[in-house]
């Protein structure tokens, strides 16, 4: 069975982002970029499944401008076998990404498609669900545990939901989106980084995949959130309780 993993290049999670003065977006020039943490977890899970003998190949996919290749090389260095880069400039919203993924699934025919549950830049949490809908595949979102039963072609997925943990059983092929506690991704070792240079990254364009990039969304502006009033440091529990009672009136 082949596993396809979608990975996204985003501003590194530790970076303190700045909103551009012209309100067109967030500053990304000269800012550290990394593979989205949830995508790393997705790739790690795919690699573990392959290493346990339940899959034969892991294909990493990324969509966007030329720099996506850097993210794919990281994925290949972690252990993915092949990469696919769908070259697209301009905004790619989840619906378009889902359509591109569907087209790639039809080419590659994987038994499992794993994605991070959300990208830490747009925080959408949509793509996995959307591609599952387009494919008509069952979905296991916000996964904190995945167990594959190859013989019965079933994935048992524990999901982190509002009320706790929910367990679903999904017939393969299926779409899984990963949550934080699914696994701890490996670091790419230097030998693997070197090996990755000779692994193949195939390029596609949306036109080649017969996908029209739809733009039914438009970013009007990006602004900073309202700033909180500066707080005070209190020096004792008594002072704290006094303030909460008599100043803030919350207790």
């Amino acid at each position: 069975m082949k596993i396809m993993v979608a990975v996204k290049r985003v501003v590194d999670y530790a970076v303190k982002i700045r909103v551009k003065a012209d309100k067109t977006g967030v500053e990304t020039q000269n800012v550290k970029m990394s593979m989205n943490p949830f995508c790393e977890i997705a790739l790690e899970e795919a690699l573990r499944i392959k290493e346990s003998g339940l899959a034969s190949e892991v294909v990493a996919v990324s969509m966007g401008p030329a720099q996506c290749v850097d993210t794919l090389r990281t994925g290949l260095a972690m252990g993915a076998d092949r990469g696919i880069h769908v070259e697209a400039t301009g905004a790619l919203y989840p619906l378009s990404v889902a359509k591109l993924l569907k087209a790639l699934v039809e080419v590659e025919k994987p038994g499992l498609l794993i994605l991070g549950k959300q990208a830490i830049d747009d925080d959408c949490n949509q793509t996995g669900q959307m591609v599952a809908g387009l494919l008509g595949w069952p979905q296991g979102t916000f996964a904190s545990k995945v167990v594959l039963d190859k013989e019965n072609q079933v994935a048992t997925v524990d999901r982190e939901v509002d009320g706790g943990l929910e367990t679903l059983s999904l017939d393969l092929p299926a779409v899984i989106t990963t949550d934080l506690r699914l696994n701890q991704p490996r670091y790419a070792t230097l030998p693997n980084i070197m090996k990755a240079k000779s692994k193949v990254i195939k390029k596609f364009t949306p036109q080649e995949l017969n996908v029209e990039i739809k733009s039914d969304l438009e970013v009007v502006q990006v602004t900073e959130p309202p700033k909180r009033k500066a707080g005070v440091i209190v020096s004792s529990v008594d002072e704290l309780l006094d303030k909460l009672k008599n100043e803030a009136h919350v207790i």
Binding site: V11, Y13, K16, I17, D22, K23, T24, G25, V26, G64, G90, A91, P94, L95, K117, Q118, I120, D123, C124, N125, T127, Q129, M130, G133, G136, W137, P138, G140, T141, F142, E160, V161, D162, G164, E166, T167, L168, S169, L170, L180, R181, K214, D216, L217, E218, V219, V220, Q221, V222, E224, R228, K229, G231, V232, I233, V234, V237, D238, L241, V250
Partner: protein
């Protein structure tokens, strides 16, 4: 975000005049609602409140699915949960015994084909986040998720980069415009059992042509949840959160004791959940629960960006941490630099008893 797109929208933004009419056009909204124990959930009522802010002239239909008597009871509750509800639609079938995404998305598609709604709204919890995007894909539209403000019927504000930036997005596509909304941004005044609004009509969705899903199936196996008498984290008035500073699960009980005394919900940081102090459903943050209580008290919490994302809209924030440089103090209204192992017992002693 690519530069070409930025140049395009910069040009557009400059010449944009509010030609999208701020005069309310008539809308018709489908609200995807959750229910439990015979009642519609509070976050779903927030979705109705959000729907009502779309337009003065808005016919709001609340869609519920499930099986049997508790569903019908929830429908009755939904029919009078908010004055803006025009009707309640009930899909009663064993396919909906559990709110799985696959039959639910198919149901939304089915109901949309028949109802032709201008908007479809769901609350932004694990139910709405799981289902609405899948339904949007079936309807070939781009959804807008985690909306915190509805500026116009097709203009929305949503947080990005863990809430460190706000993105104003316009939906330009065909009907339906699909959203999930943050219930903390669309509060509903608490209603007592007595303050019911007029019962809206309830109708059963005709599922005779719905069909079974013939492609790959998903099955519900089980759920583990904490049954607690404490208020729900999502809409508690006070939240007491513990972080890594609590050091172990046993110590976390102090947080629970304080919460009990205050009549508060218990929250936790990712670090605390990862370390096994508490289960995942207490996690507050970018990828956990979003809360906006009157009072948020954080003990032994460093204040990582991702945690702040989940609680920065709290009215009053209190932080207790040994480290005076902890980032949490930058958002706290009242900060106490001290040892939580001394502060919490003192608070337990001195805090006025709650009911």
């Amino acid at each position: 975000m690519a530069t070409r797109a930025m140049l395009r929208l910069r040009a557009f933004a400059k010449r944009t005049v509010p030609f999208h009419s701020s005069i309310s056009r008539s809308a018709s909204t489908l609200v995807l609602a959750e229910h439990e124990g015979g009642s519609i959930k509070a976050s779903s009522v927030s979705a109705v409140a959000a729907a009502s802010s779309l337009s003065k002239d808005n016919s709001i239909s609340v869609l519920l699915s499930g099986l049997g008597p508790s569903l019908q009871e929830a429908a009755s509750h939904a029919a009078s949960c908010h004055p803006a509800v025009s009707q309640v639609l009930v899909a009663d079938s064993d396919q909906f015994t559990y709110p799985l995404a696959e039959p639910w998305a198919k149901l939304v598609h089915f109901v949309q084909q028949r109802g032709g709604y201008s908007h479809i709204i769901a609350p932004s919890g694990s139910f709405g986040k799981n289902i609405l995007p899948r339904a949007a894909a079936l309807l070939d539209v781009s959804p807008v998720t985690d909306v915190i403000e509805i500026s116009e019927p097709n203009l929305f504000v949503r947080p990005i980069y863990a809430g460190n930036a706000l993105c104003t997005v316009r939906y330009n596509g065909a009907n339906p415009c699909m959203l999930t909304i943050r219930s903390t941004s669309f509060p509903v005044p608490p209603t007592s059992a007595d303050s019911k609004y007029n019962q809206a009509p309830i109708s059963q969705v005709d599922l005779s042509t719905f069909g079974e899903d013939s492609k790959g199936k998903s099955r519900y196996v089980k759920q583990t949840s904490q049954n607690t008498e404490r208020p729900d984290l999502g809409n508690a008035r006070i939240v007491v959160t513990g972080g890594r500073g609590l050091k172990n699960a046993e110590n976390f009980k102090m947080i629970e004791k304080l919460a009990e005394k205050l009549g508060a919900a218990v929250g936790a940081t990712r670090a605390a959940v990862d370390a096994g102090f508490v289960p995942n459903d207490l996690q507050v943050g970018q990828t956990g629960k979003i809360v906006a209580p009157e009072l948020y008290m954080a003990f032994g919490v460093s204040g990582a960006i991702q945690h702040l994302a989940g609680m920065r809209d709290s009215k009053v924030i209190v932080a207790v941490n040994k480290d005076a440089d902890a980032a949490i103090f930058q958002v706290a209204d009242y900060g106490l630099v001290g040892d939580l192992f001394e502060v919490i017992p003192e608070l337990l002693e001195k805090v006025p008893e709650r009911k």
